[in-house]
Symmetry: C2
Subunit: 149 residues, 2 copies
């Protein structure tokens, strides 16, 4: 497996993930455990809600996005470790049967001032469905190792 | 169930959740599905990692936080629906056996300019372990219905 060090990342780079299928039963079981609200649990209740139909929990979408990022070609040295999230927006409902994909753009690369062996890569990851419609935008700071000298 | 409308929220209010136990096997199974990296999957591999021991995926911590928020006394009218996340930080590893709790402070309440029937509550939710150590801070904008006139 090729690992990328801080020096391998540069603003403007784009990494595109594979696709992930969104399963109807998994939408409901994820919601039962972590986000038990009617519009994530039951088709009938969801129809009258703000989502106008069964929709995945935003946290389920975020977790599926992480799955796609881990499996993608990003492969930062030391693993995909987030220092924090600057911004996370859910733009459009994620439905049963959707096929999600993530495109990640490197916004910024900064060596750490306090830790000479690492730095931060700011990454904007747009998760889209099979119609190319963005469902989530996530801007995250990743902690990435510098190349050993 | 009492529902709170936009008019029931005010800056400075604090809502405290119940507690949630963090299960060792659930840390691993969540990671297998959504964040399959060694430090979330295997004790031995985790010891040599930046987490210095098995730790929950940050997205698992976020999902457990949502569970605690949904079950808490917040109960916004129309459900707990996030317009977006302003900031999400993971401050300290979440370990097997931890007992998580969330304290949420209302930072701001704003009626919508375009939608007379709703508004936004800005909420800062601090998730802490059984030692009172903050493990995650989440600042979110919730969409909340106004009281029908």
């Amino acid at each position: 497996m090729v690992e990328r060090y801080l020096e391998d990342f540069a603003p403007g780079q784009v990494y595109v993930s594979g696709r992930l299928h969104v399963d109807r039963d998994r939408i409901k079981s994820f919601a039962r455990e972590f986000d038990p609200q009617p519009f994530h649990l039951d088709e009938q209740a969801a129809r009258g809600s703000t989502f106008e139909g069964l929709a995945a929990s935003g946290w389920h979408t975020a977790a599926m996005t992480m799955r796609l990022l881990v499996a993608s070609d990003l492969k930062p040295a030391g693993g995909l470790v987030g220092a924090g999230i600057d911004d996370l927006r859910w733009l459009y409902p994620v439905r049963p049967g959707d096929e999600l994909r993530v495109a990640s753009e490197v916004l910024d690369v900064q060596p750490s001032k306090s830790r000479p062996d690492q730095g931060v890569v700011k990454l904007k990851s747009t998760t889209s469905n099979q119609h190319g419609k963005p469902v989530q935008i996530l801007t995250a700071d990743l902690i990435v190792k510098r190349r050993p000298t």
